[in-house]
Symmetry: C2
């Protein structure tokens, strides 16, 4: 269990997830080659060398068993997982650490720490796996004192209902731990955000994370059966229901509240039977927009593939080694009960109708008879395909690398893509110039539109990362919101997207959120500055 291990203070996950010196050196050599300027990995500061502001509070004896003011706890809870944060961490900059970190083991301890914080005008930062990439976990400068409330000791599966296929998870359980326990009974949650190895159920629900399924049920929202949350106003627990039309949904008011209304302590999530039948295909397109038209045809046919992700030529080359300039569409079906041959054949036929190229023998069908497609190691392969792994390897090497993601209706595509590339590309050209890259893939798709995910990178002067990033991000936010998209499809709002989100949502929605916050958190102890200005 990961929960027993110490978290890293400068990369996603735990100490064992930190890239080795060899990996960091190799990354530095690659960076040197890319830019022509020799760089070395920056030294990792020792914990002893990091000086923190003295805690601005005293932990009462009654809480000292599970509330810590130790430096290591405070530095591992100062930042989320955004690269600018990790860059500060690796440079030993911890200007606004929490004054203490609480590790409640029970609902009673959760109540105790919240009561203590409220009584002492202390900011509370609900903390799951710490992988926020939108500055959702930081202590605001304005706070007189702050406690990070880390749920990692509330990490059990409280109950599994195999008949309804649902389980009651404590909020602090990590993805791999939950899957390991479900596997033994043939079930799975199948929710794999990029942060899967290091993020928690509570974090997923609080931030509306996007998961495994590229179509149909894409967000964790769709798997939530009920939520239990502690707010300053008291406990909030919704009823387990497979469906309801009774009033505005109690769950949907909490899903996406990002720790501003309460601390999610547990929730019931819907499960799947483990897939037995699978089918997959990788289809090449000479033209990116022909490929996205194929995606539209397939998603609108409602075949509901588990995977329907297209990479533009830049990403196809980088992530999948596709030669030349081809977009790559990855189609995948899976089922516990139904062979998937016909589904993949339909989808491949549609892709070919739109100019897609794939050999018949490259359409892989596992009819549940063997392990020929090598799916056993899929979770491992999945993990390594994602940027989260070894995220820290490039820190401090003068390489900027980030992503932004959105969703847009099909009628605005591809002009939306052209606008984004033109706007963000212009700023990349101004700020980075040669060596800048901008690429796109679809992480999720809907009958009425795709969720495009953009990545950018390029060499920047060491020390100039933040300033240049800010220029690019501002251009990206302006372009996305200006062209009709959402400022985030599944990364959440946090503090990073708050201002752009205000331009996107109904103005009264902000007033409604403030009204909800006043009701549940009247003294604004919880994650102030996230989502809304209170």
């Amino acid at each position: 269990m990961k929960n027993d291990e110490r978290r890293s203070f400068w990369t996603w996950g735990h100490v064992s997830d930190e890239p080795s010196e060899e990996v960091r050196l190799a990354a530095a050599q690659a960076a040197s080659k890319r830019t022509g300027i020799e760089v070395l990995p920056p030294p990792i500061p020792s914990i002893e060398s990091i000086s923190l502001r003295a805690p601005r509070l005293e932990v009462p004896t009654s809480l000292s068993d599970f509330v810590s003011v130790a430096t290591i706890d405070r530095i591992t809870h100062t930042y989320g997982g955004h690269s600018l944060e990790l860059l500060k961490a690796i440079r030993g900059q911890f200007d606004e650490p929490p004054d203490a970190v609480a590790y409640p083991e029970s609902e009673e301890q959760l109540e105790q720490v919240l009561e203590w914080c409220i009584a002492n005008k202390t900011t509370v930062i609900p903390y799951g796996g710490g992988t926020s990439v939108v500055w959702g976990l930081n202590v605001p400068k304005e706070s007189e004192r702050a406690v990070s409330v880390d749920l990692e000791r509330m990490n059990r599966i409280l109950e599994i209902d195999e008949v309804s296929r649902a389980a009651h998870f404590q909020a602090g359980i990590y993805g791999p731990d939950l899957e390991a326990q479900l596997k033994s009974i043939g079930l799975t949650l199948r929710h794999y955000p990029q942060s899967f190895p290091w993020s928690t159920v509570g974090g997923w629900v609080a931030t509306r994370s996007g998961g495994h399924y590229a179509t149909n049920h894409t967000h964790i929202d769709d798997f939530v059966e009920s939520i239990k949350m502690l707010s300053p106003a008291g406990w909030y627990e919704s009823r387990r229901l497979p469906g309801s039309g009774a009033g505005p949904s109690p769950d949907r008011m909490v899903i996406g509240s990002e720790g501003t209304l309460g601390i999610i302590s547990s929730c019931w999530l819907r499960l799947q039977k483990r897939p037995k039948y699978r089918a997959s295909a990788g289809v090449l397109f000479a033209d990116w927009y022909q490929g996205t038209e194929a995606v539209r045809a397939i998603v609108q046919s409602k075949l509901y593939p588990a995977n329907l992700r297209i990479l533009d030529p830049v990403e196809a080359q980088l992530a999948a080694g596709v030669a030349g300039s081809h977009a790559l569409l990855i189609i995948g079906f899976e089922s516990a009960d139904i062979p998937q041959r016909l589904s993949i054949e339909h989808a491949v036929a549609m892709a070919r109708d739109h100019g897609g190229v794939i050999d018949d023998q490259a359409v892989i069908v596992d009819d549940g008879t063997g392990s020929a497609t090598g799916r056993e190691g899929s979770v491992g392969a999945w993990r390594n395909a994602f940027i989260g792994v070894n995220a820290g390897a490039q820190l401090g090497l003068g390489l900027l690398s980030d992503t932004f993601e959105t969703a847009i209706t099909w009628d605005r595509w591809p002009s939306f893509d052209e606008t984004i590339r033109a706007s963000v590309g212009a700023v990349l050209h101004e700020t980075i110039g040669k060596g800048a890259t901008l690429s796109c893939r679809f992480t999720h798709v809907y009958p009425d539109g795709p969720a495009p995910y953009y990545s950018f990178s390029g060499p920047v002067p060491i020390g100039g990362e933040q300033e240049i990033w800010h220029l690019i991000k501002t251009a990206a936010n302006d372009a996305v919101v200006g062209a009709g998209g959402t400022v985030t499809h599944h990364h959440a709002v946090g503090r990073m997207h708050k201002e752009a989100w205000e331009r996107q949502r109904p103005e009264l929605h902000g007033d409604m959120l403030r009204a909800l916050k006043s009701t549940l958190d009247p003294s604004s102890n919880l994650n102030p500055g996230v989502l809304i200005n209170s």
Copy 2:
């Protein structure tokens, strides 16, 4: 267009929807035969014979073009569609009519009437098709004066986006009118609540209505892309997005608000291509619970049938003429693009695995090559299969007939069903005795549980309907909520379910709703008494 015709004041829909004297007479004869007591259809009061309280307001000249104080308008807007309401109507009892009815034709007129009501402390009842069966449209006794705001003149499709498959509907458009317009371009909304012919887009969204699809996307919620609503605090318009993870959803706060936060004026809804391929099967089960186990197997296989509805033996006999004591499971698949033979074969095989009986040749597959399955008239057939049609025929004959519907996780099924039947059955026995019926079908099903729909009926003394109904309904609410269900799956809360809903939802959820209402409707003009006590 239905919108041009006058509404009936004593049954669902318009004057042309009223049952004829012949139909009413036949219903009376059937009732006489059932009870052994001869009854005749009650006379329909003439509009002239109905005396109403004088309007407690004066319509300013600036609004007189579209605000009426005519008796016919006021009596057609006094009640929703619940049988006890219609019974009062047919008896000429209109104690709490709205003082005026507004028919705005534009957003400007909508603003004008709302401003007028706010300035004059007037209750506003947003009115769609008037089919509420939960007392969602009544004027509260406490109101000093009230205006029903009927959206039927805002009934256009403002825009159709064929690429994204979505359309922008004004709130007052009726189901058949919108389908007729979409049909010409090969699209369909495919949302058929029981009230489909007489209900409106705005009403569906305001009340979270349940539709055509028995699995996967069951509620209108799943088809909402954006909403435009006028509240006393101003306009609220969400952005068209295929998916988003940005904060608590702006749409989900409005969906299900039942006219308490604002008046929905238009919304973008997702559309479907018209189905070409279809497959259906009716499978018999000697045992009701064996049948429901088959439903669980099929829905958990994620084949996503459009229809997966099981009728218990009582309903199978009444609605489908199934002889003996058999439950009937109706399975249906449809697709615009993909032949459905394999899907129906898989589903039928699962049903047979659970003891279901069907001949091979009774599995009907239309591979898009002809009209052999007679689907052209399906909307008409659908309408007539529902209780809404000729609902008024039995009014005043001493027959009580109503339904209640819920949802429950599978782990509590079938004990949930046993509890409901025992509790409600006992009260039916006490109040009605011989001749009482209680039956169940599933209207919608989810991987984690079904949405059971109960019907009860029986002869009661004429004049005693309300008292007996109240005893039965109280028992039903208590049983449903006590056994873990929701007090409504798609009929909405209104005033009828408010008290029971309070026992079901998190207590703080009520405070949250009141906070939202204070924000958007600070003087509580909008539908006071619905959902929450303000």
